[in-house]
Structures are given as C-alpha cells and as structure tokens.
C-alpha cells in the first residue's frame, strides 16, 4: 500500500497522466496539492474533485491517448484513492495567527502542510492543532536550526516531518542536488527516523520514481533498512488518518456531503414501503406521527 504524498494539481489532463504512470509504477493512492504564500483568505476553499476513472478509460473518442494501466490491478474492487492537500509557506511572524483563525477553511482539505522559514516560526508551529506536516525547502544552502527538544514535543503531539526529493533532478543546477543530500541527512539525524515521510513535490510525471527506488534512496540518508519500508507504507496511512481526525469536532462528530455516502447505508425511502402496506396501516402511522408532534414541547420566544 504505497501512497504518493505530493503532486501538484494542474488540471484534469495532467492529473490523468499522473495517475496512469503511478499505477504502472506500483502506487495505490495520490495526494494532489496546492501552494499558498503567507495569507489565507476565503477564496482558498478546496475545489478539488475526484476523477471518474472508469468513464475516462472507456471513452474511445476522448482526447486522452495514453492507455491507463488501471486494468493491471487484479482486484476490480480495489480503487485508486485520491486526496487533496494544502502547502503554506510562512515567512513572517505576523501571519501565524491566521492558522488558528481560519480553521474552517483548513478543514476542507485532507492534509495541511507548513513550510517555516525561520526558527521562531518553527517553535510556534509545533503546538498548533490544525496542522499535519512540517516540511522544509531542502534546496537552500542553510537549513533552519533544529533542536532536539522541539522535535520531541512535535512527535508527542503527533506531527510529521517530510523530505522531498524532486529538487534532485535539476541537472543544470548541480548545487541543488548537493544541498538536498546534506540537508536531508541533517533532518534524519534530529528525528532519528521517527514520524518521517518521503514525498516528491513534482510538476511533471517524469520526475516520479517507483517505491522501491525511493527506498533505496532512503538508505543513503542513513535510514536503516527496517524503517525504510515502514516510512512509505505505515506512516503515509497514519498521516491520512490524522487528517481525518482533525476534521472532526474534538473527535466526536463529523459532517459529510450526501453524495459521498454509499447507497447501502442510506435510509430506505418511504415510497418502497408504502406499496406493500395496505391503506389502513398508512393511516395508523399518520396518526402516530401527529401524536408525537403534540407530545413535544413548544417553545415560545418573547421579544
């Protein structure tokens, strides 16, 4: 169960090509992301719609010429999962309060990630309950100063740290490749392999690599062999479940759209039941409904 945790959302056609390459490589799920600088407004509500893959495969007259490899999956019941994600880059101290205030807008996304640009912002992002991931821009020369105590606090709260490997594929800028190696080893040193994630923040589907290639890459970041597979399978699913609990109201109630509920769990309509019953039974039910309404107290409001 491998899941690709970061791929930028550029429209319907590019998303379909990305899904077809990922299914060939061996992944089972995708998270499409979107980036924001500093300020969160009301216009940033999630407008992501899941792609209907069966229709796109069967349309012969469609413009999607690449044959999708979803039929390679042996089980037809297995579906390719799709989620949504927000990336927020914070560079000033004044905009941290927005992460607490705009809670309802952040709840429309499945995963929320933060890119702090200084150590003071990194200290305050640890205690926020509206966040799932803290990640870094690894192509810069000097990384943020990280301390052991702050990282341990974040792990107790349940946050995750992330490494992105898409900045290694810029051959004209060889400095970016050197910086990612040194910074990634630094991140692994402070977290000791706990609550780590590996993702690719890619634009093109060419910069994607298979899951076993990524595991081999992780061994060069000083991650031991046993944890390398756990990072891709178990940790990526725990992030999604962390995002699901973040959406609920203190873990008790959750509100969903009606379209997402499958038909089996929906309540049966009254029309099917009325056909089997006689007319007399319908009248008895109506009388009982009237009696129940009368029993409830009526509240009057005085102005």
């Amino acid at each position: 169960m491998f899941i690709e945790l970061d791929f930028q959302d550029n429209g319907k056609q590019s998303n379909y090509q990305a899904i077809s390459t990922l299914a060939q490589l061996g992944y089972d799920g995708v998270v499409f992301s979107r980036t924001i600088n500093d300020v969160i407004t009301k216009n940033d509500i999630c407008t992501f719609k899941e792609l209907d893959l069966k229709e796109l495969d069967q349309n012969e007259n469609s413009s999607f010429k690449n044959l999708s490899s979803l039929t390679l999956m042996k089980n037809e019941k297995k579906q390719f999962r799709q989620y949504s994600r927000l990336n927020i880059i914070i560079s000033s101290k004044k905009n941290i309060f927005l992460l607490k205030k705009m809670e309802n807008i952040l709840k429309t996304y499945d995963i929320v990630a933060v890119f702090p640009q200084s150590t003071e912002i990194f200290e305050k992002c640890i205690e926020l309950p509206t966040i799932d991931i803290i990640s870094f821009d690894l192509s810069l020369k000097y990384l943020i100063k990280i301390k052991y105590k702050q990282v341990n606090k974040a792990i107790i709260n349940g946050l995750f740290f992330e490494i992105r490997y898409s900045s290694m594929f810029k051959t004209k800028q060889s400095q970016a490749r050197k910086n990612t190696f040194s910074n990634a080893i630094n991140v692994v040193k402070y977290t000791k392999g706990k609550n780590l994630l590996i993702a690719s923040g890619a634009n093109d589907p060419i910069n994607l690599r298979g899951p076993y290639d990524v595991m081999n890459m992780a061994t060069f970041f000083n991650i031991p062999f046993n944890q390398a597979k756990n990072i891709l399978t178990a940790n990526s699913e725990s992030v999604i479940s962390h995002g699901v609990m973040r959406k609920t109201y203190f873990g008790v109630i959750k509100v969903e759209d009606k379209k997402k509920i499958p038909k089996e769990l929906e309540e049966s309509t009254d029309e099917d039941e009325d056909e089997d019953k006689n007319k007399e039974e319908i009248e008895i039910e109506k009388e009982e409904m009237m009696i129940e309404k009368i029993k409830k107290p009526i509240i009057l409001i005085q102005k």
């Binding site: 290694m168 060889s174 994607l208 690599r209 076993y212 290639d213 060069f220």
Partner: protein
C-alpha cells in the same frame, strides 16, 4: 571456494516524448551510466567497480535493459540510475524492476512484465466478448425437462436376495 559474484539489474526506461530513439545503443547507455556514477560517487567508485560494470541487453521497443555490477556496489549503481536525467538531450526516467544473481531469472521477470501490458489490450477485448455472450444466454429459452410417465413399469427395482 572464492568466487566473484555479480548482480543483474532489470531496468525500464521511460521517455517524456513519444519519439523513437533508434539511435541509442548499448554503448550509449554505458557511457551515460559511467558519467553519473562519477558525478555522484566519485572516481574511487569507478575504480572499485572496474571491469564488472557492463550493459548486457537493451531492447529499444519496450525499453528494458539489463546491467551487470559487482555485489558490493549494487546500491550505488542503483542510485546513479535513478538520478539519471538526460540521454542525448532528451529527458528520461529509469525505474528498476528486479535484481537477481543470474541473467536467466531477469529474463523470466521481463516476460512477466510484458505479459501484464499485453493483458491491458486483451482485457478490453475480453470484456466486450463476455458482455455479448451474457446477453445471448439471457435471450435463449430454457430447455424443458422430459417428464416421466407414471404408468410405465419401473424395471429398475432391486429384488431382495435371500441368503442360502
């Protein structure tokens, strides 16, 4: 008994554009592979590999190739293949499917990999044929069983044999 042991890696090349690269040879891949090992791991890694680095097979139609390397340097050659970006000024991506100790097992795995891509074309045709068959079965009438005639004698009754 001391024996030099190798590892054979099965790789798959994926291009950005669909233009066919007929000009690419085995020597071309070897040239670019060696440069990427030198870039990422230095000259010491090449000297340690030595004569064991070799490209055995390459198929330009499907994009599969087999690389040989010594057993201790397998992971370094693997990483240098994933970080390979450009070949002949065109962007590409390499993913490795299988690693084995003999060429024969690599070839068997390559057959499975091509069979799965053939299944895509097969399954789409199969689905159409199965739908037509199922609709034909529905339209057929059910065969009626022959009813037994009650007034015929039953000749299959067994007689109780008495012991002598």
């Amino acid at each position: 008994m001391v024996r030099v042991k190798f590892r054979y890696l099965l790789g798959h090349v994926r291009w950005q554009t669909t233009t066919k690269m007929n000009s690419l040879d085995i020597s071309g891949i070897y040239h670019y592979l060696k440069n990427s090992v030198k870039l990422n791991f230095g000259e010491y890694a090449i000297c340690r590999l030595g004569w064991t680095l070799n490209v055995k097979q390459y198929n330009p139609l499907t994009g599969l190739f087999i690389v040989r390397c010594s057993r201790s340097q397998m992971r370094q050659v693997w990483l240098s293949l994933t970080l390979l970006d450009e070949i002949n000024s065109q962007k590409c991506a390499i993913s490795i499917i299988h690693s084995a100790g003999t060429i024969r097992s690599c070839n068997l795995q390559a057959i499975k990999h091509t069979n799965s891509s053939l299944l895509v074309a097969k399954s789409l045709i199969q689905i159409k044929n199965e739908k037509e068959k199922y609709q034909k079965k529905k339209n057929k009438k059910k065969k009626t069983k022959k009813k037994k005639n009650k007034y015929l004698p039953n000749t299959l009754v067994k007689k109780n044999k008495s012991k002598k």
